[in-house]
């Protein structure tokens, strides 16, 4: 039986009539048409779907939309300010931290959360943090470099 969920997504209040089995990522992509959040696996491993719920990174493919009723959700679409990229996005651009771009939204959202928890992560800490984000293109080398640089930029 459809139920109503309401939440704030990227600062905007949204409401939807959904089946309880609707995943948060489906709600974001299909109901809200925010297609920057991607689905790359079905076993909760690739991290292409990472968004922030109440400021913390989670996998939106392993969260029901109803579980975040009333929450504050942020997706990749909320990071840049118009044409001005978030420092982490800018660091990925500067350091060639992306190729096909499919894992990128999840990587960036995950990285932003890392820096919130750990403002000056070491290379090893970055690599360990990325356990839940798979990339097939970059070999991670430039992603790690990007996150280092992005963390520095976010520290200001």
């Amino acid at each position: 039986m459809p139920i109503t969920v309401s939440m704030t997504v990227n600062g905007k209040a949204v409401t939807g009539e959904i089946e309880p089995r609707t995943l948060l990522v489906q709600f974001i992509r299909e109901n809200l048409k925010l297609t920057g959040t991607h689905v790359g696996c079905d076993t909760s491993q690739c991290g292409a779907c990472v968004v922030h719920i109440d400021g913390t990174s989670v996998k939106s493919c392993t969260t029901l939309a109803v579980q975040v009723d009333g929450a504050d959700v942020h997706t990749i679409e909320s990071l840049a300010d118009g044409d001005t990229l978030h420092p982490m996005q800018e660091a990925f651009r500067e350091n060639h931290g992306l190729q096909c771009g499919f894992c990128t939204p999840g990587m960036v959202m995950s990285a932003v959360d890392l820096v919130k928890e750990n403002p000056d992560p070491s290379e090893q800490e970055i690599r360990e943090w990325l356990e839940g984000n798979l990339c097939r293109c970059t070999g991670y080398h430039n992603i790690v470099k990007s996150i280092k640089a992005g963390a520095a930029a976010m520290r200001g």
């Binding site: 790359g40 079905d42 990749i76 060639h96 992306l98 960036v108 090893q124 990325l130 097939r136």
Partner: protein
């Protein structure tokens, strides 16, 4: 150098949209009135289909239609074609069994398409699919290649012995002569492990039919839209090109796995016509594991004959290559013309003979995956050379140098069909030795041993053939398509430029690199250039992106069109500046008359081209747009040296890649940032193959490694930082001197990693380790070696 031209590490034009979530991948597209499809797949590896009952599914909530193989057959739909014919040693044609899009009467692998269910929502389609009752009569399956060749159950009745072809290349007599003269022979038995490509974006498609125009459109995650249009239109659905549009928007990685014409593409397009509504299908990762073509999967025995001094005299190779259950689009070419032809490597071995048996098994079809055939060749050769060095008492470096094709031998004709145009193998080796601090290795090894660890150093000096390919050569070898590329350059009236390229991008950065070529040639800013690809209604024609061909073939086509543009613009400038064409010079975006101060900006020439108020129309056409097709004279031959240093924890068998140096010669570099990124990604896939990734089927044909829970994808903490360098010899037969960089990482790296492991364990008595060298295998190898040493 132009700051945004050739050689500049400019930031990528495509990144803003990807970083802000505004990329458009196929699954991001929604068409008005769109329905959703679920593809029901075979749960069995081999079975006769006695009956399919779709009654309940057709009546289920939201279901619009259910189709099975019989429905497609009734419409006269053809099978999925193979794009490359390979002949047997005796000249006869390969066995090429039919490959229906939806199974007809029989399923041949777990994942084989059985039915399509179309409903208002994906969930409804998936729910309904569970109500389809398929009466399977299970048949014995054959998974293992040896068993398939040794009288195992037949996958196809019309492929006796489960063999598609038994192919050979090289002069067997000369090879036998070489072995007769040999004083030393090294032998190796080697398996190149089966891999699952796993581009992060799963395959997806939307089929659509326009009742007003009779046009079909397929949005699909492909590396080569025109190839799909040709194969699907001409061979499967019988739709002429002008009524079939293929759109491939942003593609989230391909690595070969999105080259092929997949059954789902034909099923969706055909079904959209049947129900006259757009139909969307997106693979779940579980679907991808059992329906994307797999890669590699060779079993090989090879022998290398040497004289007393370690000079290679002859090489003899016998390989079995798994095709899976059907011949995928380019499957047949991978273990033959992309493998056998590379077996001279960087060495001047005078005689090489290779034979390859291609084998049907009840597994997912196997086709090109990053490197396609060339990683198998380099892995074999470099492992064998490593062993030969150990067995003959040479150092890894000395044996290689002794046998390198010398710089003055180019162009060099190998005994296996290829003619290398340029290279300097000592240069890459020297640079890699320096970067890897090989001199300091013994000290590092001693330090590891003090900590109870073992340390090893592994080399790989490889070559590959890419920039695929000259049509004439490919055609002579059995390709059923040309392998050129096209470009159209449209200069707009105000001087901005749109390029339509037949290459495509799966994330490599062509929108940037190709724009750099335009910027460099025309002197325009990067911002004023757009690169368009991936839509058959926009782009004239094209063969797509694979085989590291985009720059070497697509970029050259673009250069050819750009040269036509500057020629024509020069004529216009001459007319406007009232000078003779011969006196016109073009530099930094300005046309000028030699020896005068008269000049005209490129943008003014462009404007004049479209406002031709006083053109002499009999000699000068209005407009500024040019088209070019480029068919290369030869393959390109990137090569290089990879050195890997590993540390092993013998207590657990864990391998840590401590250092990885890749020095590649990819010819002239257009954007060093992009090239480095390509090498990083390739090396990571190579390390993945060497240490982590291995596709495993159980005896019944179920895919044991059917998800990321069991198939080990390289993660950030598995992969080291890489030291990437390059040396340059220019490609001798294209104007840019470029060779291609997309595959070198995956081709050069696996043998370097495994040779390093073997190096670290050789002293314990370990002689070989199979890929992927998992901790368990290494622990087992050490334990076994210790047991057998203790027994001696």
């Amino acid at each position: 150098m132009n700051a945004t031209g050739i050689g500049a590490a400019v930031k990528r034009k495509e990144d803003f949209r990807f970083l802000t979530g505004q990329g458009t991948y196929t699954d991001d597209i929604n068409r008005p009135g769109q329905a959703y499809a679920y593809i029901l797949r075979s749960p069995l590896a081999h079975a006769n289909i006695k009956n399919i009952d779709t009654t309940a599914a057709k009546a289920a909530d939201g279901v619009l239609a259910v189709f099975i193989g019989d429905d497609m057959a009734a419409d006269g739909v053809g099978g999925i074609p193979c794009g490359w014919g390979v002949n047997n040693k005796d000249g006869s044609a390969m066995a090429e069994p039919a490959h229906p899009a939806l199974a007809q009467g029989k399923v041949r692998y777990v994942g084989d398409q059985v039915a399509i269910v179309i409903a208002e929502t994906y969930t409804q389609a998936k729910d309904a699919a569970e109500t389809i009752s398929v009466d399977y009569e299970e048949l014995p399956a054959v998974i293992n290649m040896e068993a398939a060749l040794a009288g195992g159950p037949l996958v196809h009745d019309d492929a006796p012995g489960n063999m598609s072809y038994d192919w050979g290349l090289g002069d067997l007599d000369a090879v036998n002569e070489g072995f007769k003269n040999a004083t030393q022979v090294s032998k190796i038995d080697i398996v190149n492990n089966r891999l699952i490509p796993n581009a992060m974006e799963p395959r997806a498609g939307i089929g659509e039919y326009d009742t007003a125009t009779g046009e079909y459109t397929l949005y699909t995650t492909t590396q080569n839209p025109h190839v799909i249009r040709l194969l699907m239109g001409a061979f499967v659905l019988n739709i002429p090109e002008h009524k079939l549009r293929i759109v491939s928007p942003d593609v989230g990685g391909g690595f070969g796995s999105k080259i092929f014409h997949y059954a789902e593409e034909a099923i969706l397009t055909w079904a959209a016509g049947k129900i006259q509504r757009p139909i969307k299908w997106t693979a779940e990762r579980s679907d991808a594991f059992i329906s994307d073509a797999h890669g590699r999967d060779h079993i090989t025995h090879a022998e290398l004959a040497m004289d007393a001094d370690g000079k290679f005299l002859a090489l003899k190779v016998s390989t079995k290559a798994n095709m899976g259950a059907y011949l995928s689009t380019f499957a047949t070419s991978v273990p033959t013309y992309l493998y056998g032809t590379l077996l001279a490597g960087v060495y001047s071995t005078p005689a090489v003979y290779v034979e390859v048996k291609s084998v049907f098994t009840n597994t997912v079809p196997v086709d090109a995956y990053r490197g396609a055939g060339r990683p198998e060749a380099s892995y074999l050769l470099e492992r064998l050379v490593d062993r030969a060095a150990r067995e003959t008492g040479h150092s890894q470096v000395d044996l290689r140098r002794k046998n390198f094709i010398p710089n003055d031998a180019f162009p060099y004709q190998t005994p296996v069909a290829l003619a290398y145009d340029s290279g300097d193998y000592n240069a890459s080796l020297d640079e890699a030795l320096k970067r890897a601090d090989v001199v300091g290795f013994e000290a590092r090894k001693a330090e590891s041993e003090r900590n109870g660890k073992r340390r090893g150093l592994g080399y790989s000096t490889y070559i590959e053939a890419c920039g695929i390919a000259p049509s004439a050569v490919a055609g002579a070898l059995g390709a059923r398509a040309g392998l050129y590329e096209s470009a159209n350059v449209r200069v707009h009236p105000t001087g901005s430029v749109t390029v339509y390229t037949g290459s495509h991008s799966t994330g490599q950065g062509h929108e940037t690199a190709f724009a750099q070529l335009v910027s460099d040639t025309l002197g325009v800013s990067l911002e004023s250039v757009d690169i368009v690809h991936g839509d058959t209604n926009k782009v004239q024609f094209g063969m797509g992106t694979y085989g590291s061909r985009s720059l070497a073939v697509g970029g050259e086509a673009l250069m050819k069109a750009l040269n036509k543009i500057t020629d024509k613009a020069g004529k216009i400038a001459a007319h406007c500046l009232e000078a003779s064409e011969a006196d016109i010079e073009f530099k930094d975006g300005q046309f000028s008359v030699a020896g005068t101060d008269k000049s005209m900006a490129f943008s003014d020439v462009a404007l004049t081209a479209y406002v031709p108020h006083n053109f002499p129309h009999e000699t000068l056409e209005p407009g500024l747009e040019e088209n070019a097709f480029y068919d290369p004279a030869n393959f390109t031959f990137p090569g290089g040296c990879h050195i890997c240093e590993v540390e092993i924890d013998p207590d657990t068998g864990t391998v840590s890649v401590e250092n990885f140096v890749a020095v590649d010669d990819v010819g002239r570099v257009i954007n060093p940032m992009i090239v480095e990124g390509q090498v990083h990604g390739g090396v990571a896939q190579g390390i993945g193959q060497a240490l982590l990734e291995g596709c495993i089927y159980d005896e019944s044909g179920q895919l044991t490694t059917g998800s990321f829970m069991d198939y080990t994808m390289p993660r950030a903490d598995n992969i080291p930082n890489m030291d990437v360098g390059n040396t340059v010899t220019l490609c001798a037969h294209n104007s840019l001197g470029v060779k291609g960089c997309g595959e070198v990482g995956a081709i050069g790296s696996p043998p370097a990693v495994i040779n390093a492991i073997v190096d670290s364990l050789w002293g314990l008595g370990v002689r070989d380790i199979a890929m992927p060298a998992t901790p368990q295998k290494i622990w087992q190898a050490i334990a076994t070696a210790q047991t057998s040493q203790a027994a001696e």
